[in-house]
């Protein structure tokens, strides 16, 4: 410890209560920063996780070309162009060779899972009760990898779909509406009027009521057979990637491999993205405000200390300590306050986060308030805390360094 640091520590410890108050204000600011950000990140994660239980990060499907070329484009001078009844006609439906497309995408390293689906609207019928439903033909293994679908099957087993060609899994709401339970038989009617008998082998409960009232799952093979489509046919190919914030970039890459429409989740769900951003901004704004208030607290206390020690500063200067020494002495004090407050703030922030994490919050799929523990939040809180204490200490220190010792010593 050099002379200036020694002086700083003596100055600091001579007023334990002031030191405690200053440290506590930093502690409070930093712990709030940690807690707010952990909590907001938890809420955001939970929100996106719920969303991605039924939605893939990237969806590839057959859509009408958005830019339709005019039938006649060249206009000769003095001629009149008349096209009657121009319309955009769909020539193809779905993706004819989904398997080839999937194979092409396999080598993109960001991709963590691919699954194809066959989605069509159908009617399900049990005796006289009839409901419309959206039927998904799924590749059970891939589907489970993407959406953890097996976790949401509350009766039966997802993989039973592969075991028999007439197996179907219904959403709980749908099953209730038509009055069936596992083991019962129903008939499915397609839009083309084809009817087939199925056996209910399980029930699905995702937590999204509208989807549970509406969904029916069969195996991919069964779906193709029902709609008499070729072996590799699918209505959409769903892709999950490792970091879902990269979805737009990966979507751009996928566009090199296919002419079908490639849509990242943000395109169809910008409200999700913006609400995440809003929550983050709010968390940062609130916690920074708290930190800045803590900074003013330190500024206040350091200014008081400088005023209290004004005679000592003059004496030190008379003895030959220069302006830099004085700045060092007072800055050391505020940095020590910052470090002490910083460490205790991180600990307190962690404790508060853990308490919040354990508060019961019964709203499926949540059981308690969501909190994530990210090292980056803690690092940022500490860095911000140090910067603010540094600034709050520097201004009074600068003022102290400019004191004229003569004016003070002469009285």
């Amino acid at each position: 410890m050099n002379t200036n640091q020694k002086i700083a520590s003596v100055f600091l410890t001579s007023r334990m209560r002031q030191l405690m108050v200053a440290v506590l204000s930093v502690t409070f600011g930093i712990s709030m920063y940690v807690f707010m950000n952990s909590f907001m990140a938890g809420v955001n994660n939970e929100q996106t996780e719920i969303t991605f239980t039924s939605m893939a990060h990237i969806k590839i499907f057959n859509e009408l070309a958005s830019e339709v070329q005019p039938i006649l484009s060249e206009l000769e001078e003095q001629s009149i162009l008349i096209v009657n009844n121009e319309r955009n006609i769909r020539y193809t439906e779905g993706i004819k060779n989904a398997d080839a497309l999937k194979n092409n995408l396999l080598h993109i390293p960001e991709i963590s899972g691919i699954s194809s689906q066959f989605n069509q609207n159908i009617f399900v019928r049990n005796g006289v009760s009839k409901r419309s439903a959206s039927l998904s033909g799924i590749e059970t293994l891939n589907e489970d990898q993407l959406f953890n679908t097996a976790e949401y099957i509350i009766e039966g087993d997802l993989f039973d779909l592969d075991k028999r060609s007439n197996a179907i899994i219904l959403g709980v709401g749908l099953a209730q509406n038509i009055g069936v339970s596992t083991g019962d038989n129903i008939s499915v009617i397609t839009s083309d009027g084809i009817s087939k008998a199925f056996k209910v082998v399980g029930l699905l409960k995702t937590g999204s009521i509208s989807s549970d009232r509406n969904r029916a799952l069969v195996s991919m093979k069964t779906a193709r057979q029902l709609f008499s489509k070729n072996k590799s046919y699918a209505t959409e190919v769903l892709v999950n990637i490792k970091d879902y914030y990269q979805a737009e970039i990966v979507a751009e890459e996928i566009r090199h491999y296919t002419d079908y429409k490639v849509e990242a989740w943000q395109e169809g769900n910008s409200q999700l993205d913006s609400s995440n951003d809003l929550r983050n901004i709010m968390a940062i704004a609130v916690s920074l405000t708290i930190l800045i208030v803590a900074g003013f607290g330190i500024y206040n206390i350091m200014t008081m200390t400088v005023n209290e020690k004004i005679k000592e500063i003059a004496i030190l200067k008379a003895m030959g300590f220069n302006g830099k020494d004085v700045i060092e002495i007072f800055l050391t004090q505020s940095v020590i306050i910052g470090l002490l407050g910083g460490f205790s703030g991180l600990i307190l922030g962690n404790i508060v986060s853990r308490i919040i994490d354990n508060i019961p919050f019964e709203m499926p799929p949540l059981t308690s308030l969501p909190v994530v523990y990210r090292l980056s939040d803690y690092a940022m809180a500490f860095v911000f805390g140090l910067i603010i204490t540094f600034l709050a200490g520097y201004l009074p220190a600068k003022k102290a360094s400019k004191l004229d010792p003569v004016a003070i010593l002469r009285g």
């Binding site: 003596v10 003059a314 030190l316 008379a318 300590f321 302006g323 002469r410």
Partner: protein, 222 residues
């Protein structure tokens, strides 16, 4: 040999009204001299001392200490110079109350960093016993008597063996007994160590025993 030379010093105060404090002052002080600066209140004697101490730099004219021209040096250079060459004793002791007596004495030397901590401590203890305050060195500076505090302040002024020791009424707060002790110490330092001593004083008896008296009246030498 000249320890201090002052050439045509003029100093003004501008607040609250312009006031010519020091009027064309020139003098020289030799090494080992014990000089008293006297004058009535407001004659400018303290102002002159603070100019000599390098802490006040707002003046016209030249000041040289030990052959070094200090006029025009920057604040930080002056601080370093002060640290090494000037010891200061104030009317009020001005010790750092939260530090022990020993630490107070050692501080200027720790700042100078010319010697190791052990050497500084040895030297400080030597000075403490020289000034007859042995046994108090581990007490806080605020916990000893006024006479002792003033002697600690003198020990602090001596720790770097400065060429010049300046005192602003160093005995102003002391009783006769303590005044005599302080005076004897100064006397001894000037005689035996060859250190120059300049003290502003009101005390005629104190001044009478000095080598020389510089008397100021209304900002001019008498």
């Amino acid at each position: 040999m000249t320890a201090l030379s002052v050439n045509h010093i003029n100093k003004y105060f501008y607040e609250p009204v312009e006031f010519h404090v020091l009027k064309d002052i020139s003098f020289e002080i030799n090494k080992g001299e014990f000089v008293a600066i006297m004058g009535k209140s407001g004659s400018g004697k303290s102002t002159l001392l603070y100019l000599l101490s390098t802490m006040d730099t707002e003046y016209q004219g030249n000041i040289a200490i030990n052959g070094t021209e200090i006029t025009g040096l920057k604040q930080n250079q002056l601080a370093t110079f002060r640290n090494e060459h000037i010891g200061f004793v104030f009317q009020f002791h001005f010790l750092l109350p939260e530090f022990s007596v020993l630490e107070n004495v050692m501080l200027p030397a720790l700042k100078l960093k010319k010697k190791s901590r052990e050497e500084i401590e040895a030297k400080a203890l030597e000075l403490i016993s020289l000034l007859d305050i042995k046994g108090q060195e581990l007490k806080k500076a605020s916990k000893i008597s006024g006479g002792q505090q003033q002697r600690v302040a003198i020990a602090r002024a001596l720790i770097n063996s400065p060429a010049i020791i300046m005192g602003d009424e160093p005995t102003g707060n002391l009783d006769t007994h303590n005044t005599n002790i302080v005076f004897d110490i100064f006397r001894e330092l000037a005689k035996e160590q060859g250190q120059t001593i300049i003290a502003v004083t009101h005390d005629d008896e104190f001044a009478a025993n000095c080598d020389r008296i510089i008397e100021l009246s209304d900002g001019s030498l008498v």
